[in-house]
Amino acid sequence: MYESMIATLVRIPGHNGDEIEAYVARPEAAFSRGGVVVIHHLPGWDRGSKEIARRFAELGYDVVCPNLYTREAPGASPEDAAAVARAQGGIPDERLVGDVAGAAAYLRGLETSNGKVGTIGYCSGGRQSVLAACHLDVDAAVDCYGAFVTGEVPTEFPLKVTNLVDQLPGLRAPLLGLFGAEDKYPSPEQVAELERILAEHGKEFESRSYEGAGHAFFATDRPSYNVAAANDGWERIATFFGKHLGA
């Protein structure tokens, strides 16, 4: 446990070299360690996302949480920026990959880096964590209830989101998936499809679905928060990152 930490705002190069905002949290101690990119949920770069970043710093990682909506609404409050991003149809996958690449490069450039970087995302960020791990050299990825990794996207959805079925064979890192058994997006059937596809392609995949939990069970400031699922989920994440991002 590294309770003494430094948390600050920085600007890092993202997709196409664009400068984007990022929240950085780091243990205040000099030792070699892995890095974690926290990919925020659809509601934006909010307090909850930054709390998660600090928790990973407490676990002993250097952490970056990029503001994926920097370009849509520079300087706006997280909820206003999220409203703009949603109204514009969400953010393109290619840009997300570029922004996560920038965050991973930032982490690997820190003097404390052991060269290993993992990604984790929640809600839309869960899908984006898988997406990034299909295109970037990361060492571990965690998908917390990301919708449309598998499954069909209803045609009337204005958000420009597609499933990742055609990209999953290219997954480059071990994946941990944490889901709510009561969730509809992703549904237990969609999670089973993910498991089947990754098994077919010989990918390393650990998965856990929590009975009684729905979507967003890690979100402490929402009625969907589920103590049992969140506590067990945090333990699994700590073990998973400890195994793959350790020295």
């Binding site: 706006a76 949603r86 967003a216």
Partner: protein
Amino acid sequence: MCTYTTVQARIDGSAKGPGVGFFHVGQATVYFDHPVHAMAEHTLNIDLADPDGDPARRVALELTAESARQLVDAIQQALAAVPEELKA
């Protein structure tokens, strides 16, 4: 669940929130998803904004599904009570 479902309407009018005066709104974004503030797992959310303006100039509503239906009904009743020539 995170529905992602989003419906948009072009609108023309004005809105006001605390701390700012009235401002023009040209777009309504309507979606049923997790609220930021309301104590419900899902709400019908409405953002009224000027797509070309400052993102902070936005009026946001998070209503339970039943409240949203009541609001729709109230709007329909108010419109129905007005002579057609006034709505042209």
